[in-house]
Amino acid sequence: MPPTEHVLVLALMLFCIGAVGVLVRRNIIFILLSLEFMMNACALVFVAAGAKWGQPDGQIMYMLILAIAASEVAVALGIVIQMARRFRTLDVDAASELRE
Amino acid sequence: MTILYLILFLLGAGLVACLAERLNVNAPRWISLLAFIAATIWTGAIWLGGVDPATGFYVVGELSWIPSLGINVILKVDGLSLVLVGLTTLLGIIAVVSSWSEISTNRGFFQFNILWVMAGVVGVFCAYDLFLFFFFWEVMLIPMYFLIAIWGHEDRSYAAMKFFLFTQVSGLLMLVAIIALVWLNYEATGVITFSYDELLNHEVSGTVASLLMLGFFIAFITKLPSVPVHTWLPDAHTQAPTAGSVILAGILLKTGGYGLIRFTVPLFEEASRDFAFVAMLLGVISILYGGYMAYSQSDFKRLVAYSSIAHMGFILVGVYAFNELGMQGAIVTMIAHGFSTAALFMMAGSLQERLHTREMSQMGGLWVKAPRMGAMTMFFVIASVGMPGLGNFIGEFLVLIGAFKVNVPLTVLATIGIVVAAVYGLSLMQRSFQGTPNPQVAAMEDFGFREISVYAIMIVALVWIGVYPQHVLDLAQPTLDALGVAL
């Protein structure tokens, strides 16, 4: 079994990559995609931790994350569809009417 | 409970006045006037009722409020409170009459605010629970804010804001100090209470006491106001409508002096004594700086406003002289200044109403056109200059003679303030009513019966205090004795 610390490092790298994606991309689809990486990084840690402690809780948390990710994506894509319709673009910078 | 009823009566009258505007536009001012007259009579009745020997107070009222925090409605009236309550109600009448024809919009709400300010002030003067005190302390701000912000002059928004911010922020310091005091008392005794009498028994000492004392002190000198936290006052006074200025100068400033005497000094006696020099110094600086700034002004109201700062400096000096003379002087100054300065603000209001300006460069030689106004102004200028035989003199003299016993150099400086007072006071007179009549000023209506009678009240009051101040002194004496700090 891979050492937990190594998994954690991997997960954190993944998390950071996801974060970079969120910070850099302007296309909302890509942002959501990056968010999936971040979520997955969390999932990875949970599973690794569960394995480390020999508990099923880690995997259960993983399943919950699954549910969360699915719901988020569902609603998010709903919003994406509406945005594409109203703003005629997926560029989030285009949607910055709300500002000082 | 009488005093609570008095407060509720004023609050209720405010609501009625506000609503009555729908029936008749003139109804509010009559309601307000009658309410104040009734309140004055009421106060008089309390006075005549005499001290209840059992309690040592004229009136005592207690009511459970927030028992779980040791907060109760405790209202007591002793001599000092009574004098100030009397001043409040009397100036209420004067404020209403002075704004009789000035206010043309939203008269109901205007009277509402006046009555509510006064109710708050009465509460401040009678509260014997620190929480209640703070409550009233803040409550009186809001209607005052409205008075300035709605019916004020051109720069009212700025002035009202400044007024509110200064008082509010300094008030928060006091709130922290109050809570800390209560907390210390709780740690020592295990009882949470905001009761003034009980907290009085709790001796705080050391740095903590000094810090807490400062919390109160800053709040009170901001209200007083003293240099360097005085700058709200010229703006607020200048921009406020006449009634607002009258109330501000006449009563609201006095809450600061009252607070010093009632709270800061007795609660933190030791710390206050250590601090006395600084406080007196601030007072002296206020006297001189206020006078100097007053002379610099070209706006009638602003000049009077700065003169208020100078006068209030005497209160600070008197209170921190830590002797009977100084304290009594401070109290008499509060009362006398209430009348003299209120009158000058009313004069400014009358001039503004007639000339639509407060700039003295636009005035000059007005005596020729309105001799009665001139004579009245002369009288009150003279009073505020500190002419013996009029109230202000008694106060200032007592303060100085008391302070002299304590600190000679500061008293000498404060006494110089009297000369400065002459400089700006007479310059005010010269620039507005004397000198070559300004050709731009067309005919000006002189005072009528209504105005004269109001001024007459104040003249009588000032002469009375000046010639026989014993009524005020006797009323305040037991308070000072009870505080036990003035000796």
Binding site: A19, V22, L23, V24, R25, I31, V92, D93, A95, S96, L98, R99, E100 | K162, V227, P228, H230, T231, P234, Y289, Y292, Y295, S296, Q297, S298, N323, E324, L325, Q328, G365, W367, V368, P371, R372, A375, M378, I382, M387, P388, I394, L398, L400, I401, F404, T411, T415, I418, V419, A422, V423, L426, S427, Q430, Q434, G435, T436, P437, Y468, Q470, L473
Partner: protein, 612 residues
């Protein structure tokens, strides 16, 4: 009964003030002068009674003014010889001047206001002299200052008058402040402001003299100097001539300006305690006497000449007090009140006749056109110059002799005083000669009525006979055993007699028959400089303007908008600036927000890790 004396003028004043402008002038005149007249009668009556008892002291407590702890001054009236003399002068001369003023002011606006102020003044002055304690005295003291202010600025539409009035008030207030400090000190040390008690206390406490006693005396002297227009607070008096002439006569010649003399005389027990206080009084008097005599010599305005002469004469009184000639000082005060009032009123008549022309060089040849004023003026001048036989002679003589006998600086005082006496007769002669003789420059119109020349005549009589009156009647009852003049040295006596005569003679030679010409000297550079220096009152005004007034005014202009407020406005500006700055962060851009979140996350994580 005594309370009626001040109460009557007060009543008159209140009545006149409250009915301002609504009473007919005749009624106003009656009320205005009548109240003072009645007060004079009352004073006479009370005085007789007091003298009759032989006690020479009479106290009447009205009420306790205020009582705070051990500070409980009462409103008490106290009458003794000194007070009686003063009361007599105030009510008597005051009445005459009021009477004169009913005519003089007839044509002026604010007739009623004028008498209201005048009555108020009489009231205040009476409180000053009758007050049993220093606080009551101070009440009167400030009150007369106020009335002086009001009356100097009576013609208030002219800004110059207003300026003069304010100057008078403020300058005297400087003195008042010193006096107030003296009271504070006295109260702190002795514990009372009752005059008699304080004097007893002081003599009991400091029989050996003390710095504090000297300090109190000097502070009181400061008050006296201000009120009595002595160096260095003398600058207001000449300007005070802006007021109507009866005012100048009453306030700035006869009564108020002598309040300082009264104060020092009243507190003489303290001044007499060992210490330099007395010398200070004498020196102040001497310096003033000298300076103003020179100044009077070059003035062109008739009232200003009289004003400087008043200062000079009060200087004499101070000198008298300073050398211990209490009675002589008060005696001179009284006679001065007579002749100076006379001079002012007479000059007032002249001025009125010349349509408010006050420059003596625009007058001339009036002696046969304005006879009563001329005669009055002449008599007054004689008394002023202290020519033998006039009242001024007796009083001044007494002063000079006492000065000569003074132990330490006697000779100096005497020489100064005699020199000034010479100057006095010189400028008096100049004034008379230029005003009433020579060619006619302005045509006079005499409007005088009986109410104007009547008082003049009475004052003429007093100016001549007053000396005898004082000498014979009052002197025995004065505190220090009277004005018993002993002619110590014949030469001294002769000089004292002769110097005024010399002055008149030289004056005549210069301005009468022009035997001595001073034109050349006057035209020279030095002469012109000197003239200007003297004319400007030895540069006191000039100096004060530069040292006190101008800097203050300039300072006031600099800081009109209160630099303290900058502290708060800059806090406000700073807050606003920060607001505008942080507001910029709300760009509406999602990526920017996310970046900030990550930065925040980094900060939080760092804090946690570093602190862990």
């Amino acid at each position: 009964m005594l309370w009626l004396v001040p109460a009557l003028p007060l009543l008159g004043s209140v009545v006149l003030l409250c009915t301002e402008g609504r009473l007919p002038k005749m009624v106003v005149a009656v009320v205005g002068s009548g109240s003072v007249g009645l007060a004079a009668i009352c004073a006479l009556y009370v005085g007789m009674n007091v003298v009759g008892t032989g006690e020479w002291q009479y106290t009447e407590t009205l009420w306790t003014w205020m009582a705070v702890g051990d500070f409980n001054p009462s409103i008490t009236l106290y009458l003794d010889g000194l007070a009686l003399v003063m009361t007599g002068v105030i009510t008597g001369v005051g009445f005459l001047i009021h009477l004169y003023a009913t005519g003089y002011m007839w044509e002026e606006e604010g007739y009623s206001r004028f008498f209201a102020y005048m009555n108020l003044f009489v009231f205040a002055m009476l409180m000053l002299v009758l007050g049993d304690n220093l606080l009551t005295l101070f009440l009167g003291w400030e009150g007369v200052g106020l009335c002086s202010y009001l009356l100097i600025g009576f013609f208030h539409t002219d800004p110059a008058n207003g300026y003069a009035a304010r100057k008078a008030f403020v300058v005297t207030r400087v003195g008042d402040t010193l006096m107030a400090l003296g009271l504070f000190l006295l109260f702190r040390e002795i514990g009372t402001l009752e005059i008699q008690a304080a004097l007893e206390g002081a003599t009991a406490t400091w029989p050996e003299g003390s710095g504090i006693n000297t300090a109190i005396c000097l502070l009181l002297l400061g008050g006296a100097v201000g009120k009595s227009a002595q160096v260095p607070l003398q600058t207001w008096l000449p300007d005070a001539m802006a007021g109507p002439t009866p005012v100048s006569a009453l306030i700035h010649a006869a009564t108020m300006v002598t309040a300082g003399v009264y104060l020092i005389a009243r507190m003489q027990d303290m001044f007499l305690l060992p210490g330099p206080a007395m010398h200070w009084v004498a020196f102040v008097g001497l310096v003033t006497l000298f300076i103003s005599a020179f100044t009077a010599l070059v003035q062109t305005d008739i009232k200003r000449i009289l004003a400087f002469s008043t200062m000079s004469q009060i200087g004499y009184m101070f000198l008298a007090l300073g050398v211990g000639a209490w009675s002589a000082g008060i005696f001179h005060l009284m006679t001065h009140a007579f002749f100076k009032a006379l001079l002012f009123l007479a000059s007032g008549s002249v001025i009125l006749a010349l349509h408010h022309e006050q420059d003596i060089f625009k007058m001339g040849g009036l002696w046969n056109k304005l006879k009563i004023p001329f005669v009055s003026m002449l008599i007054g001048s004689l008394a002023l110059a202290a020519l033998p036989g006039t009242s001024g002679f007796f009083s001044k003589d007494a002063i000079l002799l006492t000065a000569y006998n003074e132990a330490s600086y006697g000779m100096l005082f005497w020489i100064g005083a005699v020199g000034a006496a010479f100057m006095t007769s010189l400028y008096t002669t100049r004034m008379i000669l230029i005003t009433f003789f020579g060619e006619v420059k302005t045509e006079p119109h005499d409007h005088s009525r009986i109410n104007m020349w009547g008082p003049l005549l009475v004052l003429c009589a007093l100016s001549i006979g007053g000396g005898w009156l004082g000498f014979m009647v009052l002197a025995p009852y004065m505190g220090d055993g009277g004005v018993a003049v002993e002619f110590h040295a014949e030469l001294i006596a002769l000089l004292t007699l002769g110097v005024p005569l010399l002055g008149v003679l030289i004056g005549y030679l210069i301005w009468g028959n022009h035997a001595i010409s001073i034109d050349k000297f006057a035209a020279s550079n030095l002469g012109e400089r000197l003239r200007q220096f003297f004319f400007g009152g030895w540069g006191f005004d000039w100096t004060y303007d530069r040292v006190f007034v101008n800097p203050f005014v300039r300072l006031a202009q600099v800081n009109k908008s209160d630099f303290v407020d900058l502290m708060f406005t800059s806090i406000a500006s700073l807050t606003t600036a920060i607001h505008l700055l942080v507001k910029q962060t709300q760009t509406g851009q999602l990526r920017w927000y996310a970046t900030n979140m990550v930065v925040g996350l980094l900060v939080v994580v760092l804090i946690v890790i570093v602190q862990a």
